[in-house]
C-alpha cells in the first residue's frame, strides 16, 4: 500500500528526559494507525512534532515521499495534516457552521455568506456520516457532537491525514462507539488516520496496525490481526518488577474507610457508583485505572473538595463524610494533588509560602494570627535539604523551579506533614527518573513508619512497584481488588479496560 507519511529517526529530549528516542514510523493510505503506550511513553510528543507544535532535535518527515519541514500547525494544515485535539478549540457561543468554516469562509461581496457556508457544512456532514446541525450553537451541543465538529473542521480544511489525540477520553461509551465507526468510515473514504490512545479495546476495534512506545522508545509495530490485548499491554508495560524492599506489616488500624460512596454528575450519570475501599496503617494501596474512570472524583470526595456525595468516609477513625477540606486535613489527611500547578502550588508564590499551605493556622507556624516567618523559613530550608530540592533559597518562586523540583516541594509538604494518611495522586507525573525514584522512596518510608498511602496513578509500573494492594477502577466503580501476592500485570491490564476476571481465567 502507498505510504502517505514517514517519520524517520525522530529524536526529542526535554532536558535529561528522552521523550522520543530514534523513532521511525510510517502511515499508509486509508489505514488507521494506533499509537499506544503509557503516559510519558512519548506518544503525544511524536504527534506534536508531526503537527508542528514541537520541534524535533533530529529526524526527518516525508510526505508522499518528499521531505517536509513542519514548523507550525498552519504549515501542517497546508500539507493537509489535521489534528483533533483532546481539548477542543471551539468558539462556544458561535454556530457549528461558523466554527467549521472559520478562517476559510465562503463570502459574497466580502460578507459572510451564511447560506452557502451552511450548505457546504451540511454536505460534508452528509458525505462522511458525521451528523451535526449546521445552525446549532456549539455550547448547546453535547461533547460527542463537539468532537464531530472538530473532525469536520479538519475535513473542511481538506486534511488527508488526521491525528486523534486520546479522542475517547472525554466521551460516554455510546459516543465512543459512534466515534470509532466514524473513524472507520473516514478510513474507508481514503483518509489516513492516527489515533493516540491507551485504551486497548478501542485499538483492537479500529486499528489496522499498532505502534507500541515505551519510555520514549519504539518497542514494536504489529498488525492488529496478529496481536491481542494481552500482548499489547505486556509490551506497553514491560516486565518491570518492584525492586524496593517492602517490609511486611500486620495491622488492623484502618486509616481510610470509604463506604458506599456514590456521586452523580449534572447529567444524571453516576460518576462514582457505590465505591467501597479501605487503607490500613502500614500499607500502600493503589488505584489502577485508565484516567477518567472516576479516580479524580474519588479523591475529591475523600479530601473534601467535593461534598455532594452519598456514602460514608472515615479518616483516621473519625467520620468526615461531607466535611470541608480544612476539617478533613485536621482529622489526619495529607494529599498530593494530581496537577501540581493547578491544585498543588501557587506558581507566583515562594517556596516557603507553598510549604506553609494548610498549616497557616497551626500553633507551630503562627501565633495570634501572626505568622512565625523564621520558623516557617527554617522548616522550608529543612525540607529543601532533606529532599535535595535544587533551589537558590526558600524565597524563590515555584515558577522558577523545574517540574521535578516543584513536585518535590509538594511531596515534601504533604509527606512530611504530621498526619498518618496520605493520598498521592500522580506523584511522579512528568518528572525525571531521579526525582521519581526519590518520591517513591519517601512514600515507602512513610509507609514503613506505619503510615497509610492511597496511590492514584495512571502509571501502571508505579503501581506494580509500590503497592501492597491494588483496587482496579473502571467506569466509576471498583471492579477488582488484588491482594499482595496475586498481583498480575496481565490481569490488571485487562481489568483496567473493563474486562472481567473469573477465578484464574481472564475474560475479555
Amino acid at each position: 500500500m502507498e505510504k502517505v507519511l514517514e517519520m524517520k529517526n525522530i529524536v526529542k529530549t526535554y532536558g535529561r528526559v528522552v521523550a522520543n528516542d530514534d523513532i521511525s514510523i510510517d502511515l499508509r493510505k486509508g489505514e488507521i494507525l494506533a499509537i499506544v503506550g503509557e503516559n510519558g511513553a512519548g506518544k503525544s510528543t511524536l504527534m506534536k512534532i508531526l503537527y508542528g507544535l514541537e520541534k524535533a532535535d533530529s529526524g526527518e518527515i516525508f510526505l508522499h515521499g518528499k521531505p517536509v519541514k513542519i514548523t507550525s500547525p498552519s504549515v501542517a494544515m497546508d500539507l493537509q495534516i489535521g489534528m483533533v485535539q483532546q481539548h477542543f478549540m471551539l468558539f462556544g457561543p458561535m454556530t457549528v457552521t461558523e466554527n467549521i468554516v472559520y478562517n476559510n469562509e465562503i463570502s459574497k461581496y466580502s460578507f459572510f455568506d451564511k447560506k452557502k457556508n451552511e450548505e457546504k457544512v451540511a454536505e460534508l456532514s452528509e458525505r462522511y456520516g458525521l451528523k451535526v446541525d449546521p445552525t446549532a450553537i456549539v455550547d448547546n451541543c453535547p461533547v460527542g457532537t463537539q468532537q464531530r465538529i472538530e473532525i469536520l473542521k479538519t475535513l473542511y480544511q481538506n486534511a488527508d491525514i488526521i491525528i486523534f489525540d486520546e479522542p475517547s477520553a472525554v466521551l460516554t461509551p455510546n459516543e465512543v462507539d459512534d466515534l470509532l465507526d466514524t473513524m472507520k468510515n473516514l478510513a474507508a473514504a481514503g483518509k489516513s488516520l492516527i489515533i493516540i490512545t491507551h485504551k486497548l479495546n478501542e485499538v483492537m476495534y479500529v486499528a489496522d496496525r499498532v505502534v507500541v512506545l515505551r519510555a520514549g522508545k519504539l518497542i514494536d509495530v504489529v498488525n492488529k490481526k496478529d496481536t491481542s490485548i494481552e500482548q499489547l499491554s505486556y509490551m506497553m508495560i514491560g516486565r518491570q518488577v518492584a525492586n524496593l524492599e517492602i517490609v511486611e506489616h500486620d495491622s488492623n488500624e484502618t486509616l481510610l474507610k470509604v463506604e458506599n460512596l456514590t456521586l452523580g454528575s449534572e447529567l444524571g450519570k453516576k460518576v462514582l457508583d457505590n465505591v467501597n475501599l479501605y487503607v490500613n496503617a502500614g500499607e500502600i494501596v493503589g488505584i489502577a485505572g485508565v484516567s477518567g474512570n472516576g479516580q479524580t472524583e474519588l479523591v475529591r470526595c475523600i479530601s473534601g473538595l467535593e461534598r455532594n456525595y452519598q456514602g460514608k468516609v472515615t479518616v483516621n477513625g473519625s467520620d468526615v463524610s461531607n466535611f470541608d477540606v480544612a476539617a478533613i486535613r485536621k482529622a489526619g489527611l495529607s494529599h498530593i494533588p494530581e496537577d501540581r500547578y493547578m491544585w498543588g502550588s501557587a506558581r507566583e508564590a515562594t517556596i516557603s509560602d507553598n510549604i506553609l499551605m494548610g498549616e497557616e493556622d497551626s500553633i507551630r507556624f503562627s501565633k495570634n494570627g501572626i505568622l512565625k516567618q523564621k520558623e516557617i523559613d527554617g522548616y522550608a530550608d529543612k525540607l529543601i535539604g532533606e529532599y535535595s530540592i535544587k533551589v537558590d533559597n526558600n524565597k524563590q518562586k515555584i515558577k522558577e523551579l523545574s517540574g521535578g523540583n516543584a513536585q518535590k516541594v509538594i511531596t515534601a509538604r504533604e509527606v512530611e506533614r504530621d498526619c498518618p494518611f496520605t493520598i498521592a495522586c500522580e506523584p511522579t507525573r512528568g518528572i525525571d527518573i531521579g526525582a521519581m525514584e526519590f518520591v517513591h522512596e519517601r512514600l515507602v518510608a512513610k509507609r514503613d513508619k506505619y503510615g497509610g498511602i492511597l496511590l492514584v496513578t495512571s502509571e501502571l509500573s508505579e503501581i506494580m512497584k509500590l503497592c501492597d494492594r491494588i483496587y482496579v477502577m473502571y467506569n466509576g466503580s471498583i471492579n477488582y481488588e488484588f491482594k499482595n501476592e496475586d498481583i498480575d500485570d496481565h490481569k490488571l491490564g485487562v481489568l483496567m479496560l473493563g474486562g472481567k476476571v473469573d477465578e484464574n481465567k481472564v475474560v475479555n
Binding site: Y14, G15, R16, V17, A19, N39, G40, G42, S44, T45, G216, S303, G304, L305, D324, V325, A326, A327, I328, R329, H335, P337, D339, M342, W343, G344, S345, A346, R347, E348, A349, D353, L356, M357, G358, E360, D361, F365, S366, G369, I370, L371, Q373, D381, I384, V391, D392, N393, N394, K397, E400, L401, S402, G403, G404, R429, G430, I431, D432
Partner: protein, 360 residues
C-alpha cells in the same frame, strides 16, 4: 543557600516592577511627543512636569495632598485584587465614606479629636458595609463582582447626590448654587505645616500602608488572602475557606476606601461637594497604582505619589507654559492601558524551563 545573580534571574524577580517602569517611561515619552506635536518644547514640558510635581517643598506637599485619597483607593484595590477578588468598588465605598463623614461630623458635639475619631470610624463602617453588600450580592446571585461593584459605584454616587441635593443641602451657603453639605466647623483634620496643604490624613495613609503591608505579608489571614489571589484552586485544596476569606478581604478593602473618602472631607474639602470623589478620578488612579505595583502596599504608596505628582506637575506646567494639564490625563491613560494589558500580554518568556512538561 547562596544567591545567584544573573540577568535572567533579575528579570524573573523584577519583571512586574520593570514592566511598570517601562510603562511609566512610555507614558512620559508619548506625553512628550504630544507636547511636541502641539507646539510645545517637550523636554521643557517633561522637566516642568517633574519639577512642578516633585521638586520643591510646595510641589511635593501638593503631591502628598493629592496622593492621600489615591493611596487609600490603591490599598483598597490592592487588597481585593491581590486576593483574587476583582472589586472595582473603591469609588463607591469612598463616596459612602465621604458622605458619611460630611453627615456625621456636624452631628457630634465634643472635642475635635473625638469628632474626628468617631467620624472616621463611622466612615470606615460605611465603606466596609457597602463593600460587603456588593460581595454578598455577587455571592448570592453568582454574579461577577467586577460588574456588581462597578454598578454599585453609580448607586453610591447618585445616592450621595440625592442626599446632598435633597436632605443635607446647605441652601444658605453664600456660594449660591453649590450642591454641597454644610461646612464642617469642628472636627477637621489639621495641616502638618500650615504653609502647605498636606494634612495629617497623609500620615494616616502612611500608617495604613504599613498596616496593610503587615497584614498581607505577616499574618495568616494575609497568607490566605494572598494564596486565594495567586491560585484559588490551591487555596481551596489547602483548606482555605474562600467565602470567609472573601468577606474578610472585601470588608477590610471597603473600610480602607471609606477612610480615604472621609479624610478627603475632613482634611481637604471640609464638606461633601457633589461629585467630589468621582470627578477627580481618585479611585481609577488608585486602581492603576495597585496594578503598577502588583498589589504591594509599599508599591501602591510609591505609584500613588507618582500619579499624584504628574497631575500636580500638569497643573503647574499649564500655568507656567500654557501646556494644557490634560496632558497628564493622557500620560496616566497610557500607563493604565499598559499595566492593564499586562494581564493579557505577558512579557516574553526568557527561556522555557527544563522538564516543565506534563505530558511528553
Amino acid at each position: 543557600m547562596k544567591t545567584k545573580l544573573s540577568i535572567k534571574n533579575f528579570f524573573h524577580r523584577f519583571d512586574d516592577i520593570s514592566y511598570s517602569l517601562i510603562a511609566v517611561v512610555i507614558g512620559l515619552i508619548v506625553g512628550a511627543i504630544i507636547m511636541a506635536l502641539t507646539g510645545f518644547d517637550p523636554i521643557e514640558g517633561i522637566v516642568g512636569l517633574i519639577k512642578g510635581g516633585f521638586l520643591s517643598p510646595y510641589a511635593i506637599a501638593s503631591t502628598f495632598t493629592r496622593a492621600t485619597p489615591i493611596i487609600f483607593a490603591g490599598l483598597s484595590a490592592a487588597l481585593a485584587w491581590g486576593s483574587g477578588y476583582s472589586s472595582m468598588g473603591a469609588q463607591g465605598q469612598m463616596i459612602m465614606g465621604a458622605i458619611t463623614a460630611a453627615i456625621v461630623a456636624p452631628l457630634i458635639k465634643g472635642p475635635a479629636i473625638l469628632v474626628v475619631i468617631v467620624t472616621l470610624l463611622a466612615s470606615m463602617l460605611a465603606g466596609a458595609l457597602y463593600s460587603l453588600l456588593s460581595a454578598y450580592i455577587s455571592a448570592k446571585f453568582d454574579a461577577y463582582l467586577l460588574i456588581i461593584t462597578l454598578m454599585f459605584n453609580y448607586v453610591a454616587d447618585y445616592f450621595a447626590s440625592y442626599l446632598t441635593n435633597y436632605v443635607f443641602l446647605d441652601p444658605y451657603a453664600l456660594d449660591k448654587l453649590a450642591i454641597q453639605t454644610q461646612l464642617i466647623e469642628n472636627g477637621t483634620i489639621p495641616r502638618i505645616f500650615s504653609r502647605y496643604t498636606t494634612h495629617y490624613g497623609f500620615i494616616i495613609a502612611l500608617l495604613c500602608v504599613a498596616i496593610v503591608a503587615f497584614i498581607i505579608n505577616k499574618t495568616s489571614f494575609g497568607y490566605k488572602a494572598r494564596m486565594s489571589g495567586l491560585n484559588p484552586n490551591f487555596a481551596e485544596y489547602g483548606g482555605i475557606q474562600s467565602r470567609k476569606t472573601m468577606y474578610k478581604v472585601l470588608l477590610l478593602s471597603g473600610a480602607l476606601a471609606g477612610l480615604g473618602g472621609a479624610l478627603e472631607v475632613l482634611g481637604s474639602k471640609f464638606r461633601y461637594v457633589d461629585k467630589m470623589i468621582t470627578s477627580p478620578g481618585y479611585s481609577w488612579s488608585g486602581i492603576t497604582a495597585s496594578l503598577m505595583s502588583n498589589y504591594s502596599a509599599v508599591g501602591v504608596l510609591i505609584s500613588s505619589i507618582f500619579l499624584a505628582g504628574i497631575t500636580v506637575g500638569g497643573s503647574s506646567i499649564e500655568l507656567l507654559m500654557s501646556i494644557p494639564s490634560e496632558i497628564t490625563l493622557i500620560i496616566q491613560g497610557i500607563i493604565t492601558m499598559l499595566v492593564t494589558a499586562k494581564f493579557v500580554i505577558k512579557l516574553p518568556k526568557f527561556k522555557k524551563k527544563e522538564g516543565d512538561k506534563d505530558d511528553i
